[in-house]
């Protein structure tokens, strides 16, 4: 409600900026700030899921795929840059030697260019999402079908990557030295990465907000609630869905790209079925239909996982499991619903799918 007014919007963004850019760096140790940067990456993915699932009704159980694409694309650039810094142009990244690869694979070469890399991070996952989305939505695969299919996609993608020795296989890509010329080991630069992550989060939320308030946002809800009806009004419902799906993919990709320098590794273990479900859980727990719910949920889930596992290293999965069950079963609207005061009017229940 509050966010509906223009003043409210600016106040909200202002407060978030103060917390993210002022308070957090002041109060948190370098290590914790790094963790927060990592969690923020999850939150960026969550904003996209909130759009695709909360607004568009598409339960994308495979966001790990797009997250992974962005992450791997960025990681490829970082590995190339490291190799070139050490051994000059055309050098082979260190891990390839392990896999017995002596020649730089052709598809790696362009990634020595930062501009090319960033373009790919923005375009490749989005284009893939558009293609897949068209294939799936035009044929009206939806609901649980789509959910299961996207989950299988995440599984297949992870398996595919494990088999690619020229992308580090099971180990993935790690051991990055520099980020666009800056030494990653330097705490000052690590803080800079945090600021980048926080900035991207605010930008992504702003984009999502604009989409929600636009006519497109209304159309998306219409498609969610009565897809067939929308067709009879002359819209191609599939295109409407594809846009939200592609935006969600783009957000996930950007998140993955930021994640890599922050965390220092990307491997198939971070993008398969289970990580993809974790992305969803944050959104569900925060409240999928609201704008900030997914952000809060993603941060809360990641934080709770870390805190619980530090406290109870061998039994924390109980607590984690119970948390998911309790919140989703008892708070259908997620955490966000707690803050909604008494509804002014009868509002029909938000559609589940």
């Amino acid at each position: 409600m509050f966010l509906k007014t223009r003043l409210g919007t600016w106040t909200g963004f202002g407060a978030a900026a103060i917390v993210l850019f002022g308070l957090a760096p002041l109060l948190l140790s370098g290590f914790r700030l790094g963790l927060l940067a990592q969690f923020i990456c999850y939150a960026i993915v969550a904003v996209g899921i909130g759009l695709a699932w909360g607004r568009g009704g598409m339960l994308t159980l495979g966001q790990g795929v797009f997250f992974g694409m962005g992450a791997y694309l960025m990681a490829m650039h970082l590995k190339m840059a490291d190799a070139e810094f050490r051994n000059g142009p055309g050098a082979v990244p260190d891990f390839m030697e392990l896999a017995g690869i002596r020649e730089l694979p052709a598809y790696w070469a362009p990634f020595s260019s930062p501009a090319f890399t960033i373009a790919m991070i923005l375009l490749l996952p989005t284009a893939f999402a558009v293609l897949l989305g068209l294939a799936v939505f035009k044929r009206r695969v939806k609901g649980a079908y789509f959910a299961i299919l996207s989950q299988a996609l995440a599984g297949a993608f992870a398996i595919l990557l494990i088999g690619q020795q020229s992308l580090g296989g099971f180990n993935g890509l790690s051991r990055f030295q520099y980020f666009f010329g800056f030494t990653l080991a330097d705490p000052v630069n690590q803080q800079m990465l945090y600021f980048i992550a926080a900035g991207v989060l605010l930008a992504v939320v702003a984009i999502a907000l604009q989409l929600r308030r636009s006519r497109y946002g209304e159309l998306l809800v219409a498609v969610r609630d009565a897809e067939e009806r929308v067709r009879f009004l002359g819209y191609d419902a599939a295109n409407v869905k594809v846009v939200a799906y592609a935006v969600a993919a783009l957000f996930a990709s950007v998140a993955g790209a930021v994640f890599v320098p922050v965390v220092g590794i990307i491997s198939p273990a971070s993008i398969g079925i289970v990580p993809s479900i974790m992305f969803i859980l944050g959104v569900a727990i925060g409240g999928r239909a609201s704008l900030v719910g997914p952000v809060v949920g993603a941060l809360a889930v990641a934080w709770a996982q870390t805190a619980l596992s530090e406290q109870f290293p061998s039994a924390w999965t109980y607590a984690q499991g119970l948390l998911f069950i309790a919140i989703i079963a008892l708070l259908p609207g997620g955490i966000a619903s707690v803050f909604k005061r008494f509804p002014t009017k009868r509002t029909p229940v938000e559609a589940a799918a």
Binding site: S29, G30, F31, G34, L35, Q38, F85, D94, F95, E97, L98, A99, G100, I159, I162, G163, Q165, G169, F170, N171, G172, S174, R175, F176, Q177, Y178, G181, F182, T183, L184, A185, D186, P187, V188, N189, Q190, Q191, M192, V263, G264, I265, S267, A269, S270, T306, S309, E310, P313, S314, W316, T317
Partner: protein, 394 residues
């Protein structure tokens, strides 16, 4: 304000290890949840046992060792995160743990950037040597090459390779292929399955029709159960086509069912049945601590040993400081359950005795062949002509 750029020297992060009191903290970082928990919980137990014994004997430098345990959750990113937490928040003097190479590679930059120490206890694919890691499991020339030597000695002329699809099996098989070519052994097939896969009918049928003299098995974890059952069911036996495994230890035999695997071979540095006073003491202590039904295995022994090696190095250096420990490491030795192990200061690996074991009806492995004394570590296989080109990384 921007920080250091490429090429500039970065100021090393200050270590926060506090040795002023009468305790010193170490980290124990293993997967206690997720798919790898099945193996890694045993390593956690071995580390705890060693720490307990060391404390009972007066600690290190007179200080009681205190374990901070963390769960790596079978995810490399979590390993990296927890390692950093142990170093920067808990200020541990050293960390023990890790299993998959993926987890080690994820932790490596963390230990290097924060200039701290990791003791990694699992056999691995070699081709690595970090100043900040001590590798107490076997590298390839202490496990895979002896296993191949053994097969060659027993007259094997053709082999079939079956492995899980990740780095260790792939690297191992690259070495095996090079070895085979140099020694006139024919490789009849090379198959990979996804980690955790239980579907082996196609592969086993292909193995059977290929008719190799032996199978070299680099499967990891649960897949072994399905593989060996299928293997036995299509009528393949250890007599007509033995399987040499490098990831099956005492723990796994129980799950596979000894009836399915009896007579098959394994290559390790340690078995519970190794006959030495140090091992008798170790096995007894372990069973007393965790129950008579528990077994000991190679990674557990290496983890146990790694704690002692760290303690011995600290004593020798007279300091917990990373630089001092690194400087003092060369030549530090320990009378471990597998025999004497000595740290090689250049590579941070240790000398290890290679053993081929046979699985017997009681579910334990018995040494059928043993290297003549401990083998010097050679992670880059520099001492093997046929391996030229496999390991010239650095």
């Amino acid at each position: 304000a921007c920080g250091t750029r490429a090429g500039e020297e970065t100021a090393a992060t200050e270590s926060c290890v506090d040795t002023s009191g009468d305790t010193v903290k170490v980290g124990s970082l293993n997967s206690l949840s997720g798919t790898m928990a099945i193996s890694e919980t045993t390593v956690r137990d071995a580390i705890a046992l060693a720490v307990k014994e060391i404390n009972a004997a007066g600690g290190v430098q007179g200080k009681t060792v205190e374990i901070v345990a963390e769960d790596g959750a079978s995810e490399p990113t979590v390993f990296a995160e927890k390692a950093e937490k142990l170093i920067r928040e808990d200020c541990v003097a050293a960390v023990f743990g890790g299993w998959t190479s993926a987890s080690r590679k994820a932790m490596l930059p963390v230990f290097e950037d924060n200039d701290s120490l990791l003791y990694y206890p699992v056999q691995y694919e070699g081709l690595e040597a970090s100043e900040n890691i001590f590798y107490t499991g076997a590298t390839t020339n202490q496990q895979i090459i002896p296993a191949l030597d053994y097969l060659a000695e027993t007259g094997v002329e053709s082999i079939y390779l079956v492995g899980s699809d990740y780095v260790f099996p792939r690297t191992a098989n690259a070495i095996i292929n090079a070895y085979a070519e140099a020694h006139g052994i024919e490789v009849l097939g090379e198959d990979y399955v996804t980690l955790g896969s239980t579907e082996f009918s196609t592969i086993v049928n292909q193995v059977k029709s290929a008719g190799a003299d032996a199978v070299f098995n680099t499967l990891n974890g649960d897949s072994n159960v399905a593989f060996f059952r299928e293997y036995a069911n299509v009528g393949l036996t250890a007599e007509d086509m033995p399987v040499m495994s490098v990831s099956i230890a005492e723990e796994e035999v129980g799950g596979i069912g000894v009836e399915n695997i009896e007579g098959q071979l394994a290559a390790w540095n340690y078995y519970q049945t190794v006959d030495s006073p140090a091992n008798t003491a170790f096995v007894e202590a372990f069973k007393a601590e965790y129950g008579a039904d528990r077994v000991t295995s190679d990674p557990m022994e290496a983890a146990y040993t790694s704690v002692y090696l760290w303690a011995a190095t600290v004593e020798k250096a007279g300091s917990f400081a990373v630089a001092d420990v690194q400087a003092a490491a060369d030549g530090v030795s320990f009378e471990s359950p597998e025999g004497t192990v000595v740290i090689d200061g250049d590579t941070h690996h240790v000398t290890k005795t290679a053993r081929i074991g046979e699985i017997r009806a009681d579910g334990l492995l018995y040494t059928v062949w043993e290297s003549e004394g401990p083998i010097e570590p050679d992670p880059f296989l520099e001492g093997y002509d046929w391996a030229a080109g496999l390991g010239d990384t650095e």
